[in-house]
Amino acid sequence: MIPVPPAIQRIPWKLIAILAGITGFGLLVLYSAAGGNWSPWAWQQGVRFLVFLGVALVIGRFPLRIFEDFAYIGYIGILVLLIAVELLGFVGGGSQRWLNLGFMNLQPSELMKVAIVIALARFYAQLPPGNTRTFTALWPALVMIGLPAALVMLQPDLGTALAICIGGVVVMFVAGLPFWWFGSTAVAGLAALPVLFSFLHDYQQKRVLIFLDPESDPLGAGYHISQSKIAIGSGGIGGKGFLNGSQSHLDYLPEGHTDFIFATMAEEWGLIGGLALLFGFFLLLRWSTRVALRARTRFGQLTAAGLTMTIFFYIAINLMMVMGLAPVVGIPLPLFSYGGSSMLTIMTCVGIMLAIENDSKTGSRRFH
């Protein structure tokens, strides 16, 4: 047997296979969604995947220390960017979510999903164990989550705000904060739901209402959900066959290559395709959960757990949305949907977790 060189051994082939499998499946669906064409979406998505995979592998080579050191600075920097976006929007007379950097549009809220997890992980890693159940453990975290979440809500981007909150709350949860805090907050949150609902924008309220009863507005905002369910439901067990999806090819399915790509896939590949994709995501999340459990440092543990949740949140909300279990919020399906921003976020998460995994192989476990 030919000995495998260590440089090649160190490359996480299994992970790459999972990511490539999900993305590759996505490319097939994009090919079909474009009416049997690699352009305009599939080849671009493929190239983007290769670039971001490279970026992730490079990030994975960074010492974990760097992330910990730059956690707060990064967080504050992105918070400033969020404020800048808000001011730009205010000056420009409309809502804005991105900064034009000349070569690309930067969405600070996307970066914040990662930054909040890292910053909170740093905070709880530094927190003396004895303070875990005190107020000191709570209020800085709430402020750190609340500021960006509020700014993103102002944009208004409910989906991303929720993603930031969920990522942060999960870090707080695994950091060991008292269980009943979460329990009572959840109960209080449920009770306050009607009040929160009234804070939403009109169109957001409408989305929620239509989500509760999609048929009430079959040609308006409920159209997305209805058509998506028709696409998934008509696919049946085995699907209509590759390139044979009428819902997507005849444009009945809106956003069939981005937010609703799962419906496009399910129409042609059926339940079998859907379960295969879910299995792919399961493998990815199992890997990242294992990284968290095996992390050598507390910072690594908390970061990995938080980022796992961030990825999961994308998947879960998107799938719930396309299946009519959640309101239409603009959240793409990680790696599968056409688009750079979400892929960048996911691959950054993957890169950081690779760094954590590499870190855990370098020495003994220490929870300083």
Binding site: G130, T132, G176, G233, L250, Y252, L285, A305, L319
Partner: protein
């Protein structure tokens, strides 16, 4: 977990807590994943049928193809109403993206006027989705192909080869057949059938077209196409053909119908011909008429105004809706009544130029001397019938009139009748609360006063006198008993003999003898005064106040086959206006060539066929020159 007894928090405890909680989070994630898989399975397996159906109804668009309307044919199968190919352009609202541009192009290409554009815009606003909106129908090949070549630049425009209703003889069948038209919004609201808002679909609006609508309609076809959400047709998926409506067979003789209509010339009036064997209506004409082709294509408001403005009332079916005092045409009926009431037809009465009733003297048109019953009919002597009426009273005659069909409303397909009055003492008491007087009887017996009838009733009366049977008029093959009338053969023979003498003896219509060997016509003329009896002169002056000319008749005299009634409004006299018309179309029934020769001579004098004259009159009317309301001297 009781808070107070918790152990001191160490790094080891934190590690354990982390592992435990990470597993809780992971477990929750897995649970959500399983729930999602279950949800997907539910949608795609349990609800599969429902969503497959919805997906198909998205994908496949069904457009209705209006059914070809059933034909209406005459007794020999000749078409009175059929369909012709019609080139049309519709707009499919869902596929119309640049409305202004497309409509602008259509307006230029098809030279649509402001009215048409307004209608299209209104229809577009009301229509939704794939419900086509008609732009133009009955286009020329040139217009149609000018659209076809530009079709790629005109998204939403749908050219179609459809069918339109066609009436080969035009105005000749206007009142008989009626016409078709696009369904109204109310009709659609009532049935909610999408066919009713499909361009090209027509429903019967009047006459037989309306009456036989359920039979003539047919079943629509369907065209299935695969369409995108934006309405672009991806491909045709085939469909079903329409089923043409059933053919309606009429008792009408199309050739006779057209001949009679043409022979009416510029006159206003009606003529009905009935088969004496079975009551078949062979011809059912009211002139002037409208061209049902114009109505079926959607008549212009101009043309409609022209028709309404005409004092000859082309929009009224005078054969059933025109009521006239029948004048002397009622005398054969009076003769039958008299014989039935025991008057000896050979009993003579001397006409001294009138009849004295108390202090009033009722005039006769001549001084006829001593007359028996047949010759009284022949000469149309009023005195003789005044004498009969005074002797018997009109209550003795009215039942006979009714038995012969006067005052009766017939169950006749698609007709809307005014059935007039056959008065008697009870009627007068009820209506005016006055006793019947002898002078009422005298007026009634010569078909004036309270008496009014329509031309169809007169024709039925002629057919019943001719056949001696209770013939029931019919336009379609319905069975009636047609029993013998309860009159003595002698009574009928006197009436027929008198009518024979009218034409073939020394009567009022001798100039209208049939120009045929061995076939003779019997008849009775009538002249009905429009102004009150004895006032003015109905023989000249303003058209509106001239006397009506009437004629009833049958031929041949022996074994009658055809019975008829003709009414010429303001024709100034039955022998002058009505009998010659009857003579020609009765001739037509036995010798077409001879009759056509006569007609062509007349038409040359009138200025062409019905259509030529109507087109010219309309053009003149539109040009602002009102057509002469007085048709001048009749032929």
């Amino acid at each position: 977990m009781p808070k107070k007894k918790s152990p001191p928090i160490t790094e080891a405890w934190r590690g354990i807590t982390f592992t435990r909680r990470a597993l809780v989070v992971g477990g929750a994630q897995a649970a959500v994943g399983v729930a999602l898989a279950a949800r997907m399975a539910y949608i795609s397996v349990i609800d599969n049928d429902k969503y497959v159906l919805e997906s198909e109804s998205n994908r496949v668009n069904l457009t209705l193809v209006p059914p070809r309307r059933g034909w209406i044919v005459d007794r020999h199968g000749k078409a009175l109403a059929n369909n012709r190919v019609s080139l049309r352009i519709d707009i499919i609202p869902d596929r119309l993206h640049n409305k202004e541009l497309v409509l602008g192009q259509l307006q230029t290409l098809l030279r649509l006027d402001g009215d048409a554009m307004e209608r299209i815009n209104r229809d577009l606003k009301a229509a939704s989705g794939f419900q086509p909106v008609a732009v133009k129908e009955d286009m020329t090949e040139a217009e149609y192909s000018s659209i076809l070549v530009r079709l790629p630049e005109l998204p939403g425009v749908a050219p179609q080869r459809g069918f339109a209703r066609n009436y080969p003889t035009g105005a000749a069948v206007g009142h008989l057949i009626g016409y078709v038209g696009a369904p109204t919004a109310e009709e659609y609201q009532k049935v909610k059938d999408p066919l009713y808002i499909t361009p090209g679909f027509r429903t019967g609006k009047d006459g037989l077209e309306k009456y036989f609508q359920p039979m003539l309609r047919g079943k629509p076809g369907a065209k299935r196409v695969e369409v995108t959400a934006r309405g672009k047709v991806v491909r045709e998926l085939g469909g079903t053909d329409d089923v043409q409506g059933k053919t309606v067979h009429l008792t009408i003789d199309a050739d006779l119908q057209e001949y009679v209509a043409r022979r009416m010339g510029r006159e206003s009036g009606a003529a009905v011909v009935i088969d004496c064997h079975n009551g078949d209506i062979l011809s059912f004409v009211s002139m002037p008429s409208f061209d049902p082709n114009s109505f079926s294509d959607g008549i212009s408001s101009n043309e409609y105004a022209w028709l309404r403005a005409d004092d000859h009332q082309p929009l009224i079916n005078k054969a059933t809706r025109g009521l006239y005092p029948p004048g002397s045409t009622l005398k054969p009926m009076a003769a039958i009544a008299a014989v039935e009431h025991g008057v000896d037809p050979s009993e003579r009465h001397t006409c001294v130029g009138g009849y004295r009733l108390g202090s009033r003297f009722f005039r006769c048109l001549g001084t006829h001397g001593s007359l028996d019953m047949p010759s009284a009919i022949m000469k149309s002597c009023n005195s003789y019938f005044y004498w009969l009426a005074h002797r018997l009273g009109y209550d003795a005659m009215a039942p006979t009139a009714r038995l012969l069909g006067l005052g009766e409303e017939f169950q006749l397909a698609g007709s809307n009748q005014r059935y007039g009055t056959i008065p008697d003492s009870a009627w007068k008491m009820k209506k005016y609360d006055q006793a019947w007087s002898a002078s009422d009887s005298l007026n009634a017996v010569i078909g004036q006063g309270y008496v009014s009838v329509n031309p169809l009733q007169l024709a039925v009366m002629a057919s019943r006198i001719a056949s001696g049977r209770h013939l029931y008029p019919r336009l379609v093959n319905r069975e009636f008993k047609n029993e013998a009338l309860p009159f003595s053969p002698e009574a009928l023979a006197v009436a027929r003999h008198g009518m024979d003498l009218v034409v073939n003896g020394a009567g009022t219509a001798v100039r209208s003898r049939l120009p045929l060997d061995g076939i003779t016509m019997a008849g009775k003329t009538g002249t009905a005064q429009v102004r009150g009896l004895g006032t003015g002169n109905g023989k000249s002056g303003t058209w509106k106040f001239r006397d009506h000319g009437l004629f009833i008749g049958f031929a041949p005299v022996v074994n009658p086959r055809y019975a008829t009634a003709v009414v010429i409004e303001h024709g100034m006299g039955g022998s002058r206006a009505a009998a010659p018309v009857a003579k020609d179309f009765m001739t037509f029934l036995f010798d077409r060539e001879k009759a056509m020769e006569a007609l062509e001579t007349f038409e040359a004098g009138w200025g062409g066929t019905i259509k030529e004259r109507m087109d010219r009159d309309y053009a003149a009317w539109k040009a602002g020159a009102s057509s002469d309301p007085d048709p001048g001297v009749p032929q």
